[in-house]
Every structure is written in C-alpha cells, then in structure tokens.
Amino acid sequence: MTTHHNSAPAHTRSLPIRQLVLTLLGWSIALIIFFPILWMVLTGFKTETAAIADPSFIFSPTLESYQAVQARSGYARFALNSVAVAFGSTLLALLIAIPSAYAMAFLPTKRTKGTLLWMLSTKMLPPVGVLVPIYLIFRDVGLLDTRTGLIIIYTLMNLPIVVWMLYTFFKDMPKDILEAGRMDGASTLQEVFFLLLPLTLPGIASTGLLSVILSWNEAFWSLNLTSSKAAPLTAYIASFSSPEGLFWAKLSAASTMAIAPILILGWMTQKQMVRGLTFGAVK
C-alpha cells in the first residue's frame, strides 16, 4: 500500500510554484475551517468589553474570564459530571464488550456475524424515537437528572461501536499465541489477562478514547434527561444560549475548557476514529 499519492506528473511535482500554490491553498482552507475555534480560544483570554468590541487579534490577554468561570460554582460540577459520565460509561461498555468481542473473535459460531450486524443495527436507532419511553421510565425509576441514568444510556449507545472495534482488534491478534498459552496451562481468564489484554492494549485504549469522545460530546440525552444535578458540560454550555447578557469572554473560556481535552484526544486517535465511526467499512 502506498503512503501517499500525488496526482501530478513527476517532473512538475517539485515545481516551486506548484508547491507554493498548494501550501497557500491548503493552509488557507485549514485556517478558515479552524477559525471559529481559534477565535473562541482567543476570546476566552479577552476582557468582556474587548470581546464585544470590533474583532481584533490584538488585545491584552487576561485570565479574568477563566477565573470568573472557575469561581462560578457551576462549572466544576458540570465538568465533573462530564468526566464521570464519559469515563463511567466507557468503563462499563468495555467491561461488557470485552467478553462479547472475545466470544465473537475466538469462538465464532454460525450466528456470530449475524449477532455483530444486529448489534450495529441497534446503533441506527434515532434517539428521538425513544425519547418518550426513556424519559418516562427514568422519571418513574428515579433516574432523571442522575449521572447513573446518563451512564446507562451512554453505555447502551456506545456498546455496539465498542464491541465492534474490540472485535476487529481481537481478530488481528494471532490465534496461536492464545493456543500456546492454553498449552502452557492458562485458563480462559488467565489467557485474557496475561496474553490478550496486554497485547491488544493499544486497540482497547483507542476504543476507550473513542467512547469517551462520543459520550463527552453527546448532546441529546444530556440535554433532555438532566437539569441541574447531573448536567454535563453540554448542558452547561447550552444554558448560555438564553440572552442573559453579553459575557462572551466567559462563554469562550468555558467552551475552551469544555472542548480542549476532547480536541486533543481526537487529534491523537484519528485513525481509530475512522475505523470506529465507519464500523470498519473504510480501511
């Protein structure tokens, strides 16, 4: 497989003018696309008055907006909720998915492929279709506005992708290493702990990261099933939507803090994201 392909003939490929045009074009587009994010990050370092003044790249940076956001008791709680829900649901999903993926990768039966596809199809369910029953069930069972409730929903929503990705990683592992382990006397549990998990750890990590990203950014259930106690950052940011007044700098600061971790994680796991998001349909 080639690492990159260039559609220009060789003799024109290194022409400086072509390089220049490409570089300019590529970077302009990249910057245009990235601009809103960049702008938001910069605005976070402005004072409120500077934020609503004419847009300018020149300003005296200050941390007052960040401090204000930290001081506002809400922020930390929302962030904590996001973290708890994202990692909680990821952990739960991994715990359930690992045995399932193990069974499908190493003990395949005639029904394995069907089961896998069926699991994927459950992800195609539009959340809005089951908004009503979920809301009512949660209300009656007392799960509304709780982190547990969100964790349950997110686990169920991410489970298909997590199973899928773990399955592809497990399949990539050579079967005879596990057999050698079995000949050495390993029970199934020992096989998993001493051999499978250490060797597929990178794959498990990227699957986990993908799940964290999806949970962190999820903006349907988090907006409808929570109100105050369990609301994660998505809801917190959404609360800025009512025109309370002009505090864009604080909004920017809060937003920057809300998206920064995920942005970085996303940058690190690009390749795995493609695999996970397309269910392996694109290599």
Partner: protein, 321 residues
Amino acid sequence: MHSCACPAQGRRCWWFSQVFLAGIYMNRTRTSGRTVGGLRTLSLQAPAVTLLLLWMIVPLGMTIWFSFQRYNLLMPEMTGFAGLENYEYLLTDPALWSAMGTTLLLVGWVLVITVVGGTLLAVLFQQDFAVRGIARVLAISPFFVMPTVSALVWKNMMMHPSNGVLAWLAQSLGLPALDWFSSLPLTSIIIIVSWQWLPFALLILLTAMQSLDEDQVEAARMDGAGPLAIFFFITLPHLKRAISVVIMIEMIFLLTIFAEIFVTTSGGPGLATTNLAYLIYIQALLDFDVGMASAGGVIAIILANIVAIFLVRMVAKNLED
C-alpha cells in the same frame, strides 16, 4: 422537567409484559446453543446481547404502544386506545410536513456540502505541501467540538449581526451586516452543521484515498491522462465505497439533529428550523403529548431504518473480507 401523576398500575402491568417477552426472546437464543463451545460463547455474549435486546425491545415497544394511545401528561384522565388517531392527526398536521421538509432540506444540503467539499479537500490534503500534517489536524478539528459549543460560537461570535466576525467582515467590505438567524435561519443551521461534519467526511475520504494504488495512477498517466481525467476515472471510482459510507452514516445522524437547533433558534422563527426530531421534542417535553410524540417517533424510526438497512448490508459485505 415536570412530573405528573399517571395511572401507575396500567403502566407497570405493561412493563411486565415487555420483560416477559424479552425473556422469551432470550430463552430462544439460549437454547439454540447446542454444543459445549456454543454454550460458552452464549454466556460470554449474554450481557451485551441481553442489554441491547432490552434496549431495543422495551423503549421501542413502548413508543409503538404509546403511539396508539391517547396519552397526554397534562390531561391524565384521557387514556384510551386511540388506534390510528395519532397518526391521522399527525399526518394531516401541516407542522409535520413542514418538519419533514425542513429535515430533508437540512440533511440534503449538509450531505451535498460535506461530501463534495470533503472530496475536494481530500484531494487537496493528499498532496504534499508544507507542514500538511498540522494543517490536516486543524481541518478536522470542528468534528470534535461539542455541538452546543459549535452552535453558540457560530451564533454569538460569528453570525451576530453587530458584534460577530462575519458582520465585521461585511462592514469592512462596505456591505450591510446580515442578521443570519432572522433572515436565513435554516441556512445558518445548515452552515453550522456542515462546518461540523465536513471534517468527518474529509477524514474518512482522506483515509480511503490513501489506499489508492499509486501504480494505477502511474499507469493512467502513461496512458495520457491529465489530473482531471485521473480524478474522474480513477480517484472517484475508488472513493465510491467510502462516499457511500459517509453518506449513510451522516444521514443516520443528520436525521436527528437536535442540539444545534435547541441552542440557537428553538425551532423558530415559527417552524422555519424545526426538523422532525425537534418537533417530537416539542410535543413530548413541551406539549407533553406523549401519544403524538410517540407516533412522530415511530415515523422517525422508520425513516432511519430505511437508511440503516443499506448501511448494515454494506458493512456485512465488508465483514466477508
């Protein structure tokens, strides 16, 4: 969110029947694992399969059930089998058709922008230029930004008629500033959503492009093909599969766009930016008309499933490899 007194008995009884049915389903799968290996597989799969089965059957079943009920949380005395009443009412309600139209416009435009844009950008980023790695990272960033953040940043900082960047740009060029959300509400939403999903298309298509065999391109060049011909006859066909995957996945998610509308226009002005998902939300959690909302939900599910069938089939083909 408000809570209301509702006839608890009837509902509990209904849940029982659901769990019972689920139990029957589970038993059927359990007894068909005949061999020793089969049983072991089954017990390992049980948690995942059971949970997803419950997730499918219980809420889905309830939605379908409710759609045939007269059930409004604000008027708890009205409970009765409504038959197709909800559907009749819904399908003759102009709001539904407006919402469907809005949904289609939204999905359609975003698809066109992201797929076409994504393909072109993929071609661009495939080329070798200075520090393209970082440029690429910047270009895919919007996809990782929370929808609520994206929407608010665009609404307040980009599109704001007096203090937004776009307004400032327009004024610098001597043009009048546009109040995006008043005059072009749906377009504004389309812009925001496209901004978020273009990187997704770019990422997928770029990855697919990297598996294009360089030899094929060389052979075409020796046959006298110029860059445009290479693009149309070699690159595009190679990307056909990736493009269909992108379209299908985007469709599944775009059909239920919610946060962006919630945070910016709340469906307005009027119903201009109300898509199917938002309409159901209004009915369920603002009007508390459970019956209608459920009927709407069923329609949304059917729509999504039509697309899903094709996607699953494509993934199944890939599993053969």
